[in-house]
């Protein structure tokens, strides 16, 4: 039956004018966005259009004492006209104003970087207008060694940080003055060459990002269009009441909604494959495996759209929800994936799109792939299960629609009422806690970014976690329900924490560290569960809250 429903849905969609128009628009957008985005990046880099700084090519003449990795990086800036000059010649030209800055890097600059030793860079400026511009750019370049992006690139080449000491002199300096007398400023710079490759990877990050960003932008389009198609398909059946006849069909109700979802998923997969092959053909991407993380991302978007469709009673409501959720998911997937090239690669794997960058960079490991797949896949499957559950409820089609909070005990009781079910519910409820905590965290970050906000966030996380665990223990009437929920919550939280921090910290240490929060969750929920059994839920809440709060405070203070 599912096959027949899929076939019919596909036929309906392909014969729909809406789909044809959306497909053509999508294609036009994709072929437009690549050159436009490339041009935009190039313009940004040259500073010719958007930057207020002078953007003329080779506008700033500067000198350096020898060719080294630093000179290679400076050369990447079109604004500089960099010349290799002996020290005497360089200082003479600086005095005469033929160059505006002269850089003296340690003679063994590259070797020192390889050996991870401290390096000194001296920069002399004259007092021309251009020298101020030069200083601005050179500061940016030198400081750029320490930015997160650079650091991450180096980290991925198995390099530990070294320090560079940068010494500036603002005004023109006569030959008699010694560099050591200059104004000094230390810039700790975690940068170094690749030990494996034997040379510094001097590729500028913003250039390397160019391609991946385009891929992400391009590939997100079919995902969102497909979500829209699914919403349209499901909600229109409600509005036009054609769905009533589907419900009368001799099949299980879940087959109808899964059939619809799979039809849209199939179309999306075809589109992704098509776009990936096109981009591969024109040399915009280098790995056809990019298809897989994109399909995973599509699965996530489609399942979220499915949930919205099933929940919504009409187009108006679904449009509102789709807009909000898509903005959030776009920000989450796109924003998180960018962390892949920063210091937080492990965290970035929450977004399947990070794997696209990983594949393009050629450094996606098997472990990262597994960690990249797990969150999106598990969240998608939970969303799908929830959608099917709601679709099977008469009231979501024929109304009046019940409140979602009222459904939670019923949803949880579907999983079971025993202790093992409580454990599983504890695991699942971690997702709910994460979503709420991220939501509150973002709100506080943007609207109450202060110590008060931080305090509110600190307390609210405890409240959220304890309340969600309480909901998870509702179907189980046993006095031990709380312990099992707490155990599930703690274990799964550990899995996710381990997943996020695995590559940052030593795993054995992590496992040891995570035993304590597991016990805390079991203890706080255990007490709450027991007191609920004794009809003293409020007291239970209070004690659980205090225990959890004290533990979190200890952790924060100690770290």
């Amino acid at each position: 039956m599912i096959k027949k429903i899929i076939k019919w849905e596909l036929k309906r969609i392909f014969s729909s004018k809406k789909f044809t128009i959306a497909f053509i628009l999508q294609f036009l957008l994709i072929i437009t966005i690549i050159p436009v985005f490339t041009l935009y990046l190039e313009t940004l880099q040259s500073g010719k259009f958007f930057s207020t700084a002078p953007g003329m090519k080779e506008f700033i003449p500067v000198g350096i004492n020898e060719k080294c990795e630093l000179s290679e990086i400076i050369k990447e800036y079109d604004q500089f006209n960099l010349r290799i000059l002996e020290k005497e010649k360089g200082m003479e030209m600086l005095q005469k104003g033929k160059i505006v800055a002269y850089i003296i890097a340690d003679e063994d600059f590259d070797d020192k970087m390889l050996k991870m030793e401290n390096i000194t860079v001296l920069i002399y400026y004259n007092n021309t207008d251009k020298s101020y511009v030069a200083k601005s750019y050179l500061d940016s370049i030198i400081n750029g060694f320490s930015d997160g992006l650079r650091k991450a690139r180096i980290k991925e080449h198995d390099i530990t940080p070294v320090n560079i000491e940068k010494k500036d002199r603002k005004d023109f300096v006569t030959e008699t003055e010694k560099p050591k007398q200059k104004e000094e400023r230390k810039t700790p710079v975690p940068t170094a060459p690749s030990v494996k490759r034997g040379k510094i990877d001097i590729k500028r990050l913003k250039f390397s990002l160019n391609r991946e960003y385009i891929i992400l932008l391009v590939m997100l389009l079919p995902l969102f269009m497909s979500g829209g198609l699914l919403t349209d398909s499901v909600v229109s059946e409600k509005e036009k009441k054609t769905g009533e006849m589907l419900l009368a069909l001799p099949t299980k109700r879940r087959n109808i909604i899964i059939g619809k979802m799979l039809a849209i998923f199939f179309i999306t997969v075809i589109q992704i494959i098509l776009w990936v092959f096109v981009l591969y053909g024109i040399g915009r991407i280098h790995s056809l495996y990019t298809v897989f993380p994109l399909i995973l991302a599509a699965f996530l978007v489609i399942n979220l759209s499915l949930l919205i469709s099933v929940y919504s009673q009409n187009y108006k409501e679904s449009a509102l929800l789709v807009t909000v959720i898509y903005v959030l998911i776009f920000a989450f997937m796109f924003g998180t994936s960018v962390l892949y090239i920063s210091d937080l690669r492990s965290l970035s794997l929450l977004s399947p799109l990070s794997m696209v960058i990983g594949l393009e960079e050629g450094n996606l490991t098997v472990l990262n792939t597994v960690y990249g797949i797990l969150p999106a896949l598990s969240f998608s499957l939970i969303t799908m299960a929830l959608s099917v559950y709601l679709f099977e409820k008469d009231s979501f089609y024929f109304g009046p629609r019940p409140k979602l909070l009222d459904l939670i005990p019923d949803i949880f009781s579907k999983i079971g009422k025993g202790n093992f079910a409580s454990f599983i519910l504890g695991c699942i409820s971690v997702f709910g806690a994460i979503i709420l905590e991220i939501g509150i965290g973002v709100l506080i970050y943007f609207f109450l970014n202060s110590n008060i906000g931080l305090g509110i966030f600190f307390v609210s996380t405890v409240l959220i976690e304890e309340y969600i665990k309480y909901l998870a223990m509702l179907p189980n009437k046993s006095k031990f329900s709380g312990i099992f929920v707490g155990a599930g919550f703690g274990v799964f939280e550990n899995v996710l924490s381990g997943y996020m921090l695995f590559t940052i910290l030593f795993p054995v240490k992590m496992i040891f560290l995570r035993v304590i929060p597991l016990l805390i969750h079991m203890c706080s929920s255990g007490i709450l569960g027991y007191l609920r059994y004794k009809k003293r839920t409020k007291t239970g809440f209070f004690i659980a809250f205090i225990i959890h709060l004290i533990y979190n405070t200890v952790i924060v203070v100690s770290t």
């Binding site: 729909s16 419900l247 001799p250 024929f398």
Partner: protein, 294 residues
């Protein structure tokens, strides 16, 4: 046989069907009548497996709809109140899609589709898009869709609602022509339609079964069997003076009452200002109003 046993359906706090027990015999046309919100549509949706009972159940030939929904749904042809058709495909494509979903064999489908399209007078238009059809044509097409898998139970929810008299008559004729050895449930607002079509009728009000029986039996239910239309000079005064008499309806200065001749005599003795008295044969509509008032 279709039997509902202590059937209850709630939507939140709203009780749509309340402890409803009812038997529908094999091969009969059973009418379900009742005012708006009586629970008629909810009841037939439960029989069709579209809704699930909150408690109680429905048995079809002894099989519980809750446990055998997929199997029993194959035996049911359902025509909802509105045709609810997909508009983009042609009539033929639409019917073929539903035939596929009901796993109708290809050879049988061809013959069946031709027969049904001819029966409802849409054979010439079978390759036209549904969106080009009028409301009456769509309703007829919905008939084809409901019957394409040759179900032995047919359920029609307000089959003639909003249609012109000629099309309504056509639809009623289809139902009678098609009944053969089918069990048919017709849910309707129109008492004349129920009277014309149904072997037996169940009256629903506020989710409960008020009564059931043949149209003749129901007409006899009206108290003491006699219906009188009384024209009074002062209707309000007249109503105040009559007690223990069932007032079916008041229309301006006319009052329709149900009572025996003896009671009518007593009324005439007591009351002045009666202009005229007409004896009236009870209709199903009178029964409906009497049973569902208040």
């Amino acid at each position: 046989m279709i039997e509902s046993v202590k059937l209850t359906k709630r939507f939140g706090n709203l009780i749509a069907i309340d402890d409803l027990s009812l038997k529908i015999k094999k091969n009969e046309i059973f009418g379900i009548v009742g005012p708006n919100g009586a629970g008629k549509t909810t009841f037939i949706r439960i029989i069709c497996g579209i809704l699930r009972p909150t408690s109680g159940t429905v048995y079809i030939d002894g099989k519980d709809i809750r446990n055998n929904a997929v199997e029993l749904k194959r035996r049911i042809g359902y025509l909802p109140e509105e045709p609810n058709l997909y508009l983009r495909p042609t009539a033929y494509e639409l019917v073929r899609y539903f035939a596929d979903l009901y796993e109708v064999e290809k050879d049988f489908f061809k013959e069946r589709a031709e027969e049904l399209f001819k029966l409802v007078g849409l054979y010439e238009r079978r390759n036209s898009k549904v969106e080009s059809f009028s409301k009456g044509m769509r309703q007829r097409l919905a008939f084809v869709r409901a019957l394409i898998h040759d179900p032995d139970i047919l359920i029609f929810d307000e089959p003639t609602m909003g249609l012109d008299p000629a099309t309504s008559k056509n639809i009623r004729d289809f139902i009678l022509k098609y009944r053969k050895d089918k069990t048919i449930i017709v849910c309707t607002h129109y008492m004349e339609e129920a009277d014309y079509l149904c072997d037996r009728i169940g009256v629903l009000n506020r989710g409960k079964l008020v009564t059931s029986g043949t149209p003749a039996e129901l007409k006899k239910l009206i108290k003491k069997e006699n219906i009188f239309e009384i024209e009074a000079e002062n209707p309000e005064n007249f109503i105040k003076n009559i007690k223990n008499v069932s007032i079916i309806e008041t229309k301006g200065d006319k009052i329709i009452i149900s009572c025996s001749y003896k009671e009518l005599g007593e009324i005439l003795e007591k009351t002045d200002g009666i202009v005229a008295i007409h004896s009236k044969i009870p209709t199903l509509e009178d029964v409906f109003i009497e049973l569902t008032k208040g």
